[in-house]
């Protein structure tokens, strides 16, 4: 009977006697007899830890992708996570604490999150960042909620350069919020804003305009245009920014963003089949009372010592209840702490270096790949920083299968991205032959060259 329960038979007897009960079952006397589960759960009996570890190890061993050299990205990146970050973020004080409701014994988490908020704010250029949201998609959904509340308008113009899964989430949640999501097509890698029909009235005018920077195909959008559209409609400008690319690019705030969201996985979180990741969220001071999720602020204790505490609590669901503008309670605090540690490790120059190395590898691979017959660009000449979309002569899924045999996760098939969420925005042929390829700072020249050689073979009919 493996478990983690401390009760000895004697303890149980003593405790039952104290309660005046003769049997453990009597503890459940409030549960109507008819509802009680007869015969126990339909689950196998417990197994000792080593057996379970063996089982989980076998499952882990069945993931062939784990052994492949990773050129896949699309919002989840294979970046360096050093031992020091794993060691510190794994400290049990951080791992096994709850939300810092008692600040006197939670200064560790609170200060780490305060530092995280500062770093996220510096990345985006905006003055306020929250303590995290679930992931990039949820951060975007919350940003749209904030924007519609701020503008009082339900129409949301979303560039199709925003990650297809994030857009899928937006659509899902619009089922509740009633937001009208208008997706703006990409043409040659850039949002074709002029293709959106001119709003016929206040109801159709966008309350929020959303763009990705770089977009999910790796292209740099013209954010000045987006700012002008937002200004024209007094809409909130939301930028979904890649926080690693931020090491090379002008900050979204410089471009005039009101809200900046992003996926923070790149800062210390392994790929992990998609989670736990980290939703980055920052905004202007004017919006702080609409900020979703938790916010840590600096203050003092009774003796005047510096102290940290979650603040502007009145916004949160446990206090505002049905008037709350966000329902988030548990977020991704440990990931925020991890990101703070990873960004502390990278520092000013390390982040810039990572971004630069990504761009270099991407350039190198792209230049060489486009020399392969059977590979053409999918996004024309639009600048590419960190991720690139290629058109493969054979279907991208086939390329990925073939390249796996050579030891590579070749990238992400556009079809899988746009199809999975029920998107359909990209045209079918482009999707089937579109391959999204990523090069991070971890990829060596040898790996890239071997990749190119394998690609050359893989795209042959």
């Amino acid at each position: 009977m493996p478990d983690y329960l401390p009760h000895t038979e004697a303890d149980i007897a003593t405790m039952l006697a104290f309660l005046g009960l003769s049997d453990v079952d009597e503890l459940f006397s409030a549960v109507p007899q008819a509802l009680r589960l007869a015969g126990g759960l339909d689950l196998a009996d417990g197994e000792p830890e080593p057996d379970v570890l063996a089982h989980m190890g076998a499952l882990a061993g069945a993931n062939r992708a784990a052994g492949l050299v990773c050129f896949a990205g699309a919002g989840a990146y294979d970046h360096e996570v050093p031992a020091v970050v794993r060691a510190l973020s794994g400290r049990s004080e951080f791992v096994t604490a709850y939300t810092p409701y008692q600040p006197e014994v939670a200064q560790g988490v609170l200060q780490a999150v305060f530092e995280y908020q500062t770093m996220v704010a510096r990345l985006s250029g905006l003055p306020v960042a929250n303590a995290s949201l679930y992931d990039g998609a949820s951060a975007l959904v919350e940003a749209v909620n904030l924007g519609t509340a701020a503008s009082g308008r339900q129409t949301v113009w979303v560039s199709s350069g925003v990650h297809p899964h994030w857009r899928a989430c937006l659509r899902t949640f619009s089922g509740g919020s009633g937001h009208r999501i208008v997706e703006v097509p990409l043409v040659d890698g850039s949002s074709a804003w002029p293709q959106v029909p001119v709003p016929s009235g206040e109801g159709e005018a966008p309350g929020v305009v959303v763009v990705a920077y770089p977009n999910y195909l790796g292209c740099l959008e013209d954010l000045a245009v987006v700012r002008r559209i937002a200004d024209a409609h007094r809409a909130t400008m939301v930028v979904a920014a890649d926080p690693v690319a931020a090491g090379l690019l002008r900050s979204p705030a410089e471009w005039g963003a009101d809200v900046v969201v992003g996926e923070g996985q790149a800062f210390g979180m392994p790929l992990s089949f998609g989670g736990p990741y980290l939703g980055l969220f920052s905004c202007t001071l004017a919006q702080v009372r609409r900020l979703p999720g938790r916010l840590v602020g600096e203050t003092v204790d009774v003796e005047g010592r510096r102290a940290y505490v979650t603040t502007l609590r009145a916004r949160e669901q446990d206090i505002r209840r049905e008037k709350a503008t966000s329902n988030v309670c548990t977020n991704q605090t440990l990931m925020a702490v991890t990101a703070a540690i990873q960004l502390g490790w990278l520092g000013t120059l390390g982040l810039a270096e990572v971004a630069l190395r990504c761009a270099r590898g991407t350039r190198y691979l792209r230049d060489a790949a486009l020399g392969i017959s059977g590979i053409t660009p999918l996004t024309g000449d639009t600048p590419v920083v960190r991720e690139m979309a290629l058109r493969t002569a054979v279907p991208a899924r086939t390329v990925i299968d073939r390249m796996a045999a050579e030891g590579f996760l070749a990238g992400v098939a556009l079809e899988d991205l746009t199809g999975a969420g029920g998107d359909g925005s990209a045209d079918a042929d482009a999707a089937a032959h579109g391959l999204l390829v990523t090069v991070t700072e971890r990829r060596t020249l040898d790996e890239i060259n071997a990749y190119l050689a394998a690609l050359d073979k893989a795209v042959r009919p």
Partner: protein, 512 residues
Amino acid sequence: MGRAEEPTLFELSEPGRHSWQLRTTGVPAWSADELVPDAHRRREPVPLAEVSERDLVAHFTRLSHRQFSVDLGAYPLGSCTMKYNPKVCDTVASLPGLTDVHPAAPARMSQGWLSLLVELEEALCAVTGMAAATFQPAAGAAGELTGLLLMRAYHDARDDRRRRVIIPDSAHGTNPASVRIAGYEVTTVPSDGRGCVDMAALRSVLDRDVAGIMLTNPNTLGLFEDGIEEIAAAVHGVGGLLYYDGANLNAILGVVRPGDMGFDIVHLNLHKTFATPHGGGGPGAGPVAVAEHLVDFLPGPRPVRLVHGAQERAASNGTGATAYGWAMPPRSIGRVHSWHGNALVLARALAYIRVHGGDGLRRVSERAVLNANWLRVRLSSVYDVPFDRPCMHEVVLAAFTLRRRYGVRALDVAKRLLEEGFHAPTVYFPLVVDEALMVEPTETESLQTLEALADAFERIAAEASEPAGVEAAHAAPRTTPVGRVDEARAARMLVPTFDARAHVGMQGDREQ
């Protein structure tokens, strides 16, 4: 140790220090201006901290010494189920075969993960009595919202537009907030004198505009809603659905299942019931399990066991073994997560479930309920017990007598407990109880620990009858890394980042 103020990383920073070390790649070293068009190129690097690895380690290690955690002691925080988190699950969550898998890797290359998810889904269905589940929701509140969208999709599919969702007044704040964000209106029903849903009040608000009801059972008073069959019949009677907030599932594992109680939709907090650690506020995982009639609406794509046939043979690469793939439910509400949910949290939960098995999970609930009742009886003579009958896995005490007599509030009791080396219970929740102290010992605390906790509770109450004790209660905590924190000032003079300190005129350091 842990009591000295720790400067921020930014104050430890000195330009030119570094920690980072990156792989040697040999990739040509183009400069930024060769790579990024001028208009887009950042001019100055993002200013972060610049510290040595040594200082990074010292900083975060010292911060960790200013943080309480389950691993340091009892954490009887009601509703949060702060049980011991087995270390073996940390090992599971760091298996390279799990951590190094890209979420967009084709199913053929991620059979282990898919199989893990399907196995966990089956286990959660066994525990809840439901038909299928989604793992996308990243926490309980996300599960609630997902569940409410499922409710909406279900009614929509029957062309049945409904506007209201019923919530008891003892509900957790996420419930009404989720209802609102799902586009529904909240109808609150009061609790009756026994701490359960007031049946008459419920009936009075039930009509065909009610999309459903959200309940947790046991409820947030730690009491089992013994009228649940009646509630279910009534709600179903008007065509509404029953939503189960799984926050309190820890009380009833193997005893009674939400599905058997009549619930249609259940969200689970894996970070509570299944011991995945809370991480200082996350990550969690809030899978939503549903009854048969809602399966088609689940978010997708979903991991599925492939039926024997062509698809399977393809996925298993001709080996013939049972294989797994992805499927989009036919009337799916769509995605609710960037990928597939908090996968590593899910892996932890499966390991926990396998160690316990069906028999062990039932023991978990038995002991959780035993512990809570022991504390209830032990403390009922010194604290108010607003609803003094057998509780489930948590007990709501109250300090209204202490407050009335001596001016010692629930908050003071909480802060005194911090001094005694325990975490505080949840205070001022549920809202229906004045000066509430919501105590959830969990099953992993031993009788000795319960005794020490009860002793501390009693000592605090006893001291309150003396002036020095009252003073001590108001001054508490004094042995913690900081004393009581000025929350009003934090909101008034908002300093949400280190850079904002300048605006409100804070000093780099307090006076030496």
